[in-house]
Symmetry: C3
Subunit: 168 residues, 3 copies
C-alpha cells in the first residue's frame, strides 16, 4: 500500500502516468484492430515483438506480424466483416521503471464474411510492455483463451487461461 | 511520453484528475440509462448538447433529448424491460484544458417488453467533453456501431464504425 | 470539480493511488474467480466480509465464503467448466479516507460441466471497501443483476438492479 509523501510523490505520479499510457496502448490496439488497419497497429509494438494467439499461431518480429494481419485471405480485413474488442480488468506490475507485466481481459466479437454465426472469444492478454523513446510499447503478447462461441479457431488451437481443474 | 518533474507535476496531476472525472461521467451515464432514469442522465450533458445514434436518430438540446429518452412509447423505460451498458477502452485527448475528445467502446444488452430475443449492440462512443462550473459534461456524442445481434434498429439506421473495406 | 494546487496535491495523488488500488482488487477477484482459485480470492476480502448474490445466496465471514466457493458440488471449480468475468464502469465514492463505496458493472460468461448452454450474467457489484494494513479490501459486496441468458439461477433468486418501472 503506497502512502504518498513529499519524498515519493514524483515517482508515484510518474507511475500513474505510465499506467494510463500503457492502458491507452491496449485501447488503441483494439481500435485499430476493429478498424482493420494493421499499419496503425504496428507502431504499438516494438520491432522485435513476440505475439502468440495459440501454440502454432502468432508472429515474431514486426514484419512477420504485419504479414499475418494483412494477409489477403486470412488477415483481419479479409477474414472478418467486422469485429469489436472490449478490453477491461487491466492489472499492471512494473518489473522495473522501463518494463511492465500487464494482464487484461478480452471480450471479442467477430462477424465473418463467410455465412456462419458470429464468433465470440473470452480471453486474457498476458503482455510485457517496454518503455521506448516513443512511449510504452508491447514487446510480448500471449493470448490465453477462457472459451469461445462459434469461433472458427477450435480449442486445441488456443492456449487456455490458467484454471484449477475439477478434481472429482 | 510525459516525464514528471517539479515544473509540470501540478498540470500532470490535474490531467489525471480530469481524466477520472470524465470516465466517471461515462459510467454514470450508463448507470442512469440502465436504471431507466432520464432525469439523472441530463445533468451529465451541457444544455446545448448534440447526440446522434444514427443518421436520423438523435437530439439537439437538453429538452429534445429528454423527450427522446422519456417518450411513453419509445423511451428507455417504455421500450426496454432491462438494459446493461458496459463501457471500456476509454481514450481521452485534450484539445485544450477545457475540452476533450473522448472515445470509448460499448457492449450493450437490451431486453424488450415485446416478445423478441434480447438485442446486443457493439459500438463506439465518439464524444466531446466540456469543462463547466459543475464539472466535465458531454457536449457532443456520436455513436458508431460495429454490429448488432437481434437489435430492433437495423444497420441502415446506424452510423458504422470506421473500418477498412475488403478490397477483393 | 477538483482544482489541483500546492495545498491539496498530496491528498489528490493519494486518492488517485487509492482508486487504482481498489480497481486492482476488483480485477484480481475476477482473475482468481476465473482461475477457480478460492484460496487466492479470500485475501481480497476482510475477515468479517458480507457477500450477497441473491436473497438467499451469499456468505458472512471469510470461512463461510470459502466454503461456498470451494464446495465440491456447487463450488466454482466443481460447477463451472470455465468462466470469464469482465468488470468495467467503476465508480468510487470515498465515505472517508479509509472507506469507499464502489459500484461496477459485470459481464460474466459461464460454461457448465453439465450439458446445457453457456450462461451469461449482466450485473452490478455494489461494494464497500475498507483500507487495512494490507491494502484495500472488500468488506461488503452485493451483486444486483440486470438480466441473464441461460443462467442456472433464476430471476427470483437474484437481487435486481435499480430500475424505473414501466408506468403504462
Amino acid at each position: 500500500m503506497t502512502s504518498v509523501n513529499e519524498d515519493n510523490i514524483m515517482a508515484v505520479v510518474q507511475r500513474l502516468v505510465d499506467e494510463r499510457d500503457i492502458e491507452r496502448v491496449l485501447f488503441q490496439y483494439a481500435f485499430h484492430l476493429d478498424a482493420a488497419d494493421p499499419q496503425s497497429m504496428l507502431p504499438l509494438f516494438v520491432e522485435d515483438l513476440y505475439v502468440a494467439y495459440g501454440p502454432s499461431h502468432g508472429a515474431t518480429g514486426a514484419e512477420s506480424y504485419l504479414d499475418v494481419l494483412s494477409n489477403d485471405k486470412t488477415g483481419i480485413a479479409a477474414f472478418f466483416a467486422g469485429t469489436s474488442h472490449h478490453v477491461s480488468n487491466i492489472v499492471i506490475d512494473f518489473v522495473n521503471k522501463d518494463t511492465a507485466k500487464v494482464r487484461s481481459v478480452l471480450y471479442a466479437w467477430h462477424k465473418y464474411y463467410r455465412d456462419r454465426p458470429d464468433g465470440i472469444v473470452y480471453a486474457q492478454y498476458h503482455d510485457e510492455f517496454t518503455r521506448t523513446d516513443e512511449g510504452w510499447k508491447i514487446s510480448r503478447r500471449e493470448q490465453k483463451t477462457a472459451g469461445t462461441e462459434n469461433y472458427h479457431a477450435k480449442a486445441h488451437a488456443l492456449v487456455p487461461t490458467p484454471r484449477t481443474q475439477k478434481t472429482s
